[in-house]
């Protein structure tokens, strides 16, 4: 088995391996580099119009309408998973997409593991910055773990029960022909 462990975090954007142009700076010290950097929300607020800065939301950040309005122009929004078992970020991402209509990149960072990428994607994360030791090919495969879903989410606007109704109508029409 090849040793996958390197310092680079495997990165997936819109379902494909991609190059990550952003640096994560969890504890910013001034001056910040003149390059794209993801910084904690408070630091981002200090230069929110700088397109080289993106906000990092903690898993406990409450997404109020006021905050969502602030975030609307961010070049990307990173949501932190301090532990993969902390599921708050799933709700945050869905709210950003479904309630507040954010269309930019939403990136999962932190303890992001292969076996969470399917649900993360369903909830609206289009960028996945996996933990350093994760296997990229496993993660790509896990994106296709399921071919359908019962519930609507960001990837699928309708619940399965509405598809079933349409299928039943189609079948009825076919059988009449």
């Amino acid at each position: 088995m090849p040793d996958q462990a390197t310092n680079a975090r495997p990165f997936i954007f819109e379902g494909r391996p991609a190059e990550d142009h952003w640096t994560m700076i969890r504890e910013p010290e001034s001056p910040l580099p003149d390059a794209p950097a993801i910084v904690p929300l408070a630091a981002w607020r200090e230069e929110a119009s700088n397109r080289q800065r993106a906000p990092l939301l903690g898993s406990d950040t409450e997404l109020t309408p006021e905050l969502a309005a602030e975030l609307a122009n961010a070049p990307l929004i990173a949501i932190d998973f301090p532990k993969f078992t902390d599921g708050r970020g799933y709700s945050t991402a869905r709210l950003l997409r479904e309630r507040f209509g954010y269309t930019g990149e939403i990136r999962a960072v932190g303890d992001v593991l292969v076996d969470q990428v399917f649900f993360l994607t369903r909830c609206g994360f289009d960028a996945l910055s996996l933990r350093e030791d994760q296997w990229l090919e496993d993660a790509l495969q896990a994106l296709n773990a399921f071919s359908r879903a019962y519930q609507p989410a960001v990837d699928e606007p309708e619940p399965l029960f509405r598809h079933r109704l349409r299928e039943a109508v189609r079948e009825a029409e076919t059988s009449m022909v």
């Binding site: 902390d86 599921g87 799933y90 359908r148 879903a149 019962y150 519930q151 609507p152 109704l165």
Partner: protein
């Protein structure tokens, strides 16, 4: 009975493939113990005291005969020949081999079964009324609604890593047989003046370390909104439930901390955005789902046959005892629901051998249209037995040792697997159950006592529901020794209440005597027609305490 379509089957098959891959990565060392844990428990796989344990979902307690046969096959081929029905109406196999679990899940998928979300911090198997669809006091058949909830909660992308486990119970009857007051969410389905289904929603009930009775969040939600409302409610819990302390992470702590009014306000604020969205149920969807649960074409039963059954009951004392205790009324005249007691000497409460699983499956085919139900009291039910076949069924059950006429009595106790199996337990529970069953074997005494619910848990997690037992027994650890704390006055159902601790705990050998003393106080103090819990509520804890600690 719900039958999978290609969508359901595909999802379950894909789940098996996913878990097989996860198991392979774990065995190859590519997935750490800590990271594999949530994945395996979401597939029902625990690593217990002696061996792994696989908890198989029996959605809302409904089981087809061919499924029970398959469970018997699994117990025989992959385990030590028996299985254990739990208080959440699931089946646990206590000795599977870790690496064979993907094969077991594949076998389950072949009969439209799975172990999905039987553990983990996710939405668990929905439980319901064991007499759903046949109860005389039923306003709404809960099964189609349970299946809608099962589908909504299965692989919910947002709610797989909740602060803690989340259990939903549903009833549609006047008498609550699903313990909706002590679940994270309890649903009571009812009909308004126009005959439309409405849902009363309770939240924040639960047992465990901090037992609480659920509070009413909504009285009269129109049925169309069931899923959007649940989604809003669980979203509030996912965002605001505590994650810093495992013992304060259940929704009951959140409801208590916010107060039910503030909790309701937050849920309603969230729901305002989801209401009338794509998950709003349509009449056609509900009707299609109801079609899975239509009544069997029951053979009409003549007046003479019913009279013959009543005659036999008056003539045959043993048969009469069985009918009085184990046979429940049915909405169709001439039919009854029959409880098969899994409480008998020589077997742990709720256990069934693989042979018995096959035999009971045959009985379900012969006497009850091929369907069974599992109860949270750890028994099985044949829900559609014609009275003119009752005697024959009773004889057959007697041969199998499943006709103990003690359902609802002290002998029908609820008991978790305890320290004999469970890695969490502080103390053994099965030997306590056996000792009590042995001491109180006399049927006349049991009948004289009337309904007494005795529930045993081997630890604070309360899988044996000791808080809501009229008599509750809790195993505790005192300096490495097993002790037992007794509580009195708990109850399930519409008048659910939590028991009060009697006093200092006892060693195991003292427990039967303590129970005897408690019962003697009841027998001495009761008024005509008063049940144990009614007497307790009238006289309080003191007389019991004085007698037991005299």
């Amino acid at each position: 009975m719900y039958r999978y379509d290609t969508h359901d089957q595909t999802l379950v098959n894909e789940r098996v493939a996913q878990f097989r891959d996860q198991m392979n990565r774990y065995l190859a060392g590519r997935l750490s113990e800590e990271e594999f844990l949530p994945l395996r428990v979401q597939n029902g796989l625990y690593v217990q005291r002696h061996a792994p344990m696989l908890r198989i979902a029996i959605p809302y307690g409904m089981l087809a005969s061919y499924q029970l046969r398959k469970l018997g096959d699994l117990a025989r081929d992959y385990d030590r020949g028996y299985g254990h029905f739990t208080t959440r109406t699931n089946l646990q196999l206590n000795w599977p081999k870790l690496e064979t679990v993907p094969d077991m899940l594949a076998e389950l998928a072949s009969v439209q079964m799975h172990a999905i979300q039987t553990s983990g911090n996710d939405i668990r198997n929905t439980s319901s009324d064991q007499f759903a669809g046949v109860a005389e006091d039923e306003d709404v058949d809960p099964r189609p609604w349970c299946e809608l909830i099962r589908q909504w909660s299965t692989f919910h992308p947002e709610f797989t890593y909740l602060p803690r486990k989340f259990k939903i119970a549903v009833t549609g009857s006047a008498e609550d047989r699903a313990a909706i007051l002590v679940h994270d969410v309890g649903l009571r389905l009812w009909r308004d003046a126009h005959g439309e289904v409405r849902v009363k929603i309770l939240a924040g009930g639960g047992l465990g370390r901090t037992p609480m009775i659920g509070e009413v969040v909504r009285e009269d939600l129109p049925w169309q909104h069931l899923l959007t409302y649940l989604e809003a409610l669980v979203r509030v819990y996912n965002q605001f439930g505590r994650r810093d302390n495992k013992f304060k992470a259940r929704i009951k702590i959140l409801v208590k901390a916010l107060g039910v009014d503030e909790f309701r306000r937050r849920v309603d604020a969230e729901w305002a955005h989801l209401k009338d969205g794509p998950q709003t149920l349509t009449r056609q969807t509900v009707e299609d789902m109801q079609h899975h649960f239509i009544d069997p074409e029951r053979r009409p039963i003549s007046e003479e046959a019913i009279a013959g059954y009543e005659r036999l009951r008056s003539e045959n004392r043993a048969f009469a005892r069985f009918v009085t205790n184990n046979v429940h009324g049915h909405k169709v005249p001439g039919y009854k629901a029959v409880t098969l007691s899994l409480k008998r000497s020589g077997h742990s409460p709720g256990d069934l051998t693989w042979e018995q699983m096959h035999q009971v499956a045959d009985l379900a085919d012969e006497y009850s249209y091929g369907e069974l139900r599992v109860t949270h009291e750890q028994n099985l039910v044949l829900s559609d037995v014609a009275v003119d076949q009752m005697k024959a069924l009773w004889d057959r059950l007697g041969e199998l040792g499943l006709a103990n006429p003690t359902v609802g009595t002290l002998a029908d106790l609820i008991c978790c697997p305890g320290g004999d199996y469970c890695g969490l337990a502080n103390a053994k529970s099965i030997p306590v159950a056996h000792a009590i069953q042995e001491r109180f074997e006399d049927l006349d005494f049991l009948y004289d006592l009337g309904p007494v619910e005795l529930n045993i848990s081997g630890c604070m997690n309360a899988c044996g529901h000791h808080h809501v037992g009229n008599i509750g027994i809790l195993g505790v650890d005192k300096k490495g020794e097993e002790w037992y704390q007794i509580s009195l006055g708990g109850a399930q159902g519409n008048e659910a209440s939590l028991g009060k601790i009697l006093g200092p705990s006892f060693s195991r050998d003292k427990v039967p005597e303590v129970i005897d003393n408690v019962l003697q106080v009841y027998v001495g103090e009761r008024l005509e027609g008063e049940t144990f819990v009614e007497t307790y509520r009238r006289i309080g804890l003191k007389p019991f305490k004085e007698r037991v600690y005299a």
